[in-house]
Symmetry: C2
Subunit: 212 residues, 2 copies
């Protein structure tokens, strides 16, 4: 007798519980603001104990902030990055993959983005993850153009790309999703392209100094 | 008899006290990290009461985080912005003025930047001010190119400029000030210029939609 269905059911139960907790958390945060919602509030609202909450989530931050380039996501994203057209091509393909993934599986993203866009407390909680995303992206870019990742040019290319994505998502949320995210991100990638191209060829004074 | 000298002395006393509190705060934060330092620690270290601290500063955040485009600074910065060469010219002149001001009056900036660059807690505390700076800059840019400030193009131009500045300052701090900040920021402004130029002329789908 196979045990697969049993495991499936248990995983489904875990998935349902985590979804319920997540949805409750977003409802509460959009009502009261990030800083006014405690783990206790979320657990009570979702009908679970605080101990159960912590068996599934490390805390309020981890539950609500989801990194763009987290290790789990990178597995899907890395193979689809265009490595043959420099940094502009890499950014374009990155945005395209991201917009595609978002369209496919996260229908609540718009609601969540609207909350994030309005809630400084939540943005503050995301600062650490954003720094990590920039560092990850700098590593990917450095690899593509075969440069060291800590130069100003590569740091700049990564930070500009990350900021461009966040700004575009914010504007998309503000417009209530009236415009396709895929279209907006493609336009942003085009706008960004010349700066990324110049990061690729720029010889910053600091670069010469570090290379010596 | 003129009262000017008396006022001068009182202001000098206030200035000295605020400087002492600020320096103490930076020393403590660079030793222990932002999140481990309380207002009580700072007051004790500077030899003032907590009540005196709060007569001079609204809190730990306000004391350590200084906005790039705060109202006080804008008074000096605004007249020196180049309005005749589009967004690239505006960013170039903005960075130049900023680097000049930094050279002239804040010798401790490098130490402070090194702390900020390493301390996520402090970066988190600065998130709100950074958002306000982007909004201020979007207003300035919108005015220069005569476009509404909330379009994606203008938001993008402002966010990219702000990120470029922060990334450059971080790299400057990391290099221990070995390279002139003025030179680095000028190079960053050049790298950024083509993206700002394309923000100026870009016709984003969202723009067409909002204008309707």
């Amino acid at each position: 007798m196979s045990t697969a269905p049993r495991v499936g059911r248990r995983e489904q139960k875990r998935f349902d519980l985590e979804r319920r907790v997540r949805d409750t958390a977003w409802d509460l945060v959009s009502e009261r603001g990030y800083s006014e919602v405690t783990v206790e509030d979320i657990a009570t609202g979702a009908g679970v104990s605080v101990a159960t909450f912590y068996r599934h989530f490390a805390g309020k931050d981890m539950l609500l902030t989801r990194r763009w380039l987290s290790a789990e996501r990178l597995v899907d994203i890395l193979p689809s990055i265009d490595r043959d057209h420099g940094l502009p091509g890499a950014a374009r393909s990155l945005f395209e993959t991201y917009a595609g993934a978002v369209d496919a599986y996260d229908v609540d993203l718009l609601t969540r983005l609207t909350v994030i866009h309005r809630d400084v407390g939540l943005q503050v909680a995301m600062t650490k993850g954003r720094n990590e995303d920039v560092a990850t992206l700098a590593g990917i870019y450095a690899d593509i153009v075969d440069q060291p990742p800590r130069t100003l040019a590569i740091q700049l290319a990564a930070a500009l790309t990350a900021t461009a994505r966040i700004t575009t998502m914010g504007r998309w949320a503000e417009l209530g999703g009236l415009v396709s995210l895929q279209v907006l991100l493609a336009e942003t990638a085009e706008t960004l392209a010349p700066a990324l191209a110049s990061c690729e060829t720029a010889t910053f004074t600091s670069r010469a100094l570090v290379d010596r």
